[in-house]
């Protein structure tokens, strides 16, 4: 009789809508697939949804409501790093697991036993990108960093990850420029980059910054290879750069054309989103959130949860315990394991060629 | 036909009925004075004639035209002008700009400069301060400016709301001489005054307002002797709180 309740924090309004508004379809897809195959331990999965608008305060409200009102066994989300920072402490106190689909700031899960992320640390992603460039023998004699200063993830990429990785690959870091998240005019930064003229620019920024930087580089006639992590893994990015940004190289945890599984997901996703009048190419968060449902399903199966309201606290903990030891689960994105709450999974290094994303290399963990 | 014909107008501010069924006429070339205690509704009457407060009922014609529903700027374009209570000069404009503002409806641009000089000649205080901000003027100087500004509009009917307020005795005399002179040149005047004696002495006709109602009207000479006029001032002619 009891359903297995999962809470789901959506970011359907607020700053992340365009990245997050298709996530719900991916979640529904996964849940329907699992339920159609008989559910978990004979029980159906039921998802309770809450729109947080990307706001940390609303996210804690959501979590409280999942924990205290909905009797959720685990929680999908929250979306962004800021939300994670406020909901993970609440989840820890409530004894309720959460798994974020987009937050990629370094070290967010540290100190939390109920906090998980199905995302890859940007350090590992950039490492994979540079590895691929080296393997392909592309020019990498000198480098510079460019990053948004007022965003957690971007700034740590620009100030920590990129310098460390450049050093590891013995690329001299010849300078760095920064900009504000909302900056539209990157001409002063590009004027500086023009003087440095590096082979590689390590970029820490959301997609908007990447687009603006690419356009300004083109305007001022600077040619260099911009590299980045999952923060700019937007399937529409080449289109949005409108002719600029050739050679932009990034790492992502999802690439639609990677294998049959991903292609099948992409096709099914496209039919559903088309019907809803939304973007048809799944992005990395769509893929991640789809797999989160499967990861929870696996953990619930292994923990033998029943959805019995009387046992909810124990079952929540059991799910957490199963997740933290999960190894090599064959998910759609690839094989997923958890270390310290963060997912370890393949990174696809992709490059803009002729205004399209093309696969440069696939890097498996280790 | 009268130049201004106010027939049975009523005005209220929320629950306060400021004017009740007030009628009044001003003929071409006439000086009409409106007397009444504080709060009787005199200022309200003038504003209603100008169209700055909405009527609850009644009608107004000016220069043979029904202006009951016309906007203030339309009425002013027809030749109506008000020297408002408390002068209302524009303190962020210079003296000269205030005067020019008075003429903003007029199309006969060339005549304006000459008239401005005439006004400066009449009010030398203003001439000396023509490029100063009007905020610097003394109370009386501001009153002069307000009258000068109204003259710049070249009106057919000038309404003055307590123009002698704050003026020196000498200047009050000059003011009334000015009113008579302008009237002689054909200007009709509707004058609200606390200075009852002076007002009655220049007016052709007078109307007394009490608590928003016309209680007396007629020839100023007879009114001046009417014991009821005294009563209107010495009695409890005040509004009570709503």
């Amino acid at each position: 009789e009891d359903d297995l309740v999962l809470g789901y924090m959506m970011a359907k309004s607020g700053p992340y809508v365009s990245l997050a508004n298709t996530n719900e379809i991916a979640v529904d897809m996964a849940v329907e697939e699992i339920n159609a195959k008989g559910g978990i331990n004979g029980k159906k999965i039921k998802v309770v949804k809450f729109d947080t608008a990307g706001d940390p305060k609303q996210a804690t409200t959501a979590l409280r409501s999942f924990a205290q009102d909905a009797g959720a066994l685990a929680v999908i989300g929250p979306f962004s790093s800021s939300e994670v920072r406020t909901t993970f402490p609440v989840g820890e106190r409530e004894g309720l697991a959460q798994m974020s689909m987009a937050s990629s700031a370094p070290g967010l899960t540290k100190g939390f036993t109920y906090g998980f992320r199905n995302t890859t640390d940007e350090g590992k992603v950039i490492d994979a990108v540079l590895g691929a460039i080296k393997d392909k023998k592309l020019p990498m004699a000198s480098g510079a960093a460019a990053y948004a200063t007022d965003d957690v993830v971007s700034k740590s990429i620009g100030t920590k990850v990129v310098p460390a990785e450049f050093e590891k690959f013995s690329i001299p870091l010849k300078g760095s420029v920064d900009f504000q998240l909302g900056a539209f005019d990157l001409s002063p930064q590009v004027a500086q980059l023009k003087q440095i003229s590096p082979d590689i620019v390590g970029l820490g920024s959301p997609p908007e910054g990447a687009v603006n930087l690419a356009k300004e580089l083109k305007r001022q006639g600077v040619s260099t290879r911009v590299i980045g992590g999952t923060t700019i893994a937007d399937p529409d990015l080449p289109k949005r750069m409108d002719g600029a940004g050739e050679n932009l190289t990034i790492g992502t945890t999802f690439f639609a054309d990677a294998n049959d599984k991903t292609k099948a997901f992409t096709d099914k996703f496209a039919t559903r989103t088309k019907a809803a009048g939304l973007r048809t190419d799944p992005n990395q968060m769509d893929a991640s959130v789809y797999d989160i449902v499967y990861l929870y399903a696996e953990a619930m199966k292994r923990a033998g949860v029943t959805g019995d309201k009387a046992k909810v606290a124990a079952e929540r903990t059991a799910i957490r315990d199963q997740l933290s030891t999960l190894k090599d689960y064959p998910a759609m994105e690839g094989s997923i394991s958890f270390t310290d709450g963060d997912a370890v999974k393949p990174v696809y290094v992709i490059e803009v060629k002729g205004g399209k994303w093309t696969l440069l290399d696939t890097r498996l963990p280790n | 036909m009268a130049l201004l014909d106010v027939s049975g107008i009523s005005v209220s501010y929320g629950r306060v009925n400021a004017l009740k069924d007030v009628s009044l006429q001003v003929k071409e070339g006439e000086i009409v004075t409106v007397l009444g205690a504080n709060g009787a509704g005199k200022s309200t009457l003038l504003k209603a004639i100008l169209g700055a407060v909405p009527l609850k009922s009644g009608g107004i014609t000016f220069a043979d035209r029904d202006v009951t529903r016309a906007q203030p700027h339309k009425r002013i374009a027809e030749g109506l002008v008000l020297v408002p209570e408390g002068r209302r000069i524009l303190i962020s404009l210079t003296v000269e700009e205030n005067l020019k503002l008075g003429a903003h409806m007029r199309r006969d641009g060339t005549a304006i400069a000459g008239e401005m000089d005439a006004i400066y000649a009449r009010f030398p205080n203003l001439a000396e301060r023509r490029n100063m901000l009007a905020s610097c003027l003394s109370g009386g100087e501001q009153q002069m400016l307000a009258i000068g500004r109204a003259m710049m509009a070249k009106p057919r009917l000038m309404m003055l709301d307590e123009p002698s307020l704050g003026l020196s005795p000498l200047f009050v005399q000059k003011l009334f001489e000015l009113i008579v002179e302008l009237n002689r040149d054909g200007l009709a005047v509707l004058l609200v005054e606390q200075n009852t004696g002076k007002a009655l002495s220049v007016a052709h006709r007078a109307t007394v307002l009490e608590l928003g109602r016309v209680t007396m009207a007629g020839d100023p000479k007879t009114l001046a002797d009417d014991p009821r006029l005294q009563a209107a001032y010495l009695g409890a002619g005040e509004a009570t709180p709503a």
């Binding site: 356009k215 750069m241 | 962020s92 503002l101 008075g102 903003h104």
Partner: protein, 294 residues
């Protein structure tokens, strides 16, 4: 830093300043004349860019799309006048701010619903819109906006100080009730002003879209706030102050980015504003408030 780069940075700063300057003039019209801190202006700026983008995407010829964007902004501004400004007369001066901000939120959210929160690529009008002088790269659109802004400003300051309509506008600015008693048709004049400031903001938005080839529902906020800062730095109500302020803010921003880093932009730009306000509360070209006469 090499000289050529400094020159480039100064050019960059002036170009950025031109956008702020137009916004600052739009704000100055609203505040200096109507005493209304019109927070819908950043929204109208955004409309200028977004609506043009929408119509271009719809297949309209560019110029039609531009005209349509300006018309939409003007119409919306009339709504702002009707609902945010007119009913508030005589109340506390802060109140219209609320409703105008309401308009900003409304416009942003309507665009958000229609276009999504992403920044969209505004099509380039001509393949390469840049002058290249030696090592310097100068955007033609930016140069144009600088020139256009200066012309607009020249005309506006003449208009306000020397025409009868300008005087009437200043009368309304000082006291709307008195303006009515003076026979000024406020019902016509005030909406005209709203249209004028809306057009300035929307033109700024269009120029922004053309210059930076991007639009988004939130593009007005950053520029809008800097525009207000520029207006204040220059001196509120002073049109030349808005010009000076816009250019100063643009330069301060670009130079602090290139000499120190983007993380200090807000500190330098708003710090500059704060320091100026403390040292010279009326702004650089503003008139000091005189102690009122009793």
């Amino acid at each position: 830093m090499r000289g050529s780069m400094l020159a480039q940075q100064i050019v960059n700063g002036l170009m950025l300043g031109a956008i702020y300057m137009l916004m600052a003039v739009a704000f100055t019209l609203a505040i200096g004349v109507l005493n209304f801190l019109n927070f819908s202006l950043p929204g109208l700026f955004m409309l200028g860019g977004m609506v043009a983008y929408g119509f271009i995407k719809f297949g309209w010829p560019t110029l039609f799309a531009f005209a349509a964007a300006l018309a939409v902004a003007a119409l919306v501004s009339l709504l702002v006048e009707r609902f945010a400004y007119r009913p508030m007369q005589g109340g506390d001066p802060e109140v219209p701010l609320v409703s105008s901000l309401g308009f900003l939120v409304l416009l942003e959210n309507l665009m958000l619903i229609y276009f999504g929160s992403d920044q969209q690529a505004f099509p380039a009008l001509v393949p390469d819109l840049n002058l290249r002088l030696g090592g310097l790269v100068i955007g033609i659109a930016q140069l144009g906006s600088l020139a256009l802004s200066v012309l607009l400003v020249l005309w506006l300051s003449w208009f306000l100080s020397s025409t009868s309509t300008g005087r009437c506008i200043r009368t309304v600015a000082e006291n709307r009730d008195t303006a009515v008693l003076m026979g000024i048709d406020t019902g016509r004049l005030v909406p005209m002003l709203f249209i004028a400031s809306a057009l300035l903001a929307a033109v700024a938005g269009l120029l922004f879209a053309v210059n930076y080839q991007q639009v988004s529902p939130f593009m007005g906020e950053g520029v809008g706030f800097k525009g207000v800062a520029a207006m204040i730095v220059g001196g509120m109500g002073s049109i030349w102050g808005a010009v000076l302020g816009g250019l100063l803010i643009g330069l301060a921003e670009v130079l602090s980015i290139s000499f120190i880093g983007a993380d200090v932009v807000n500190i330098t730009v708003y710090g500059l504003l704060l320091v100026i306000l403390i040292l010279r509360p009326q702004g650089l070209l503003g008139r000091p408030a005189t102690r009122e006469k009793l």
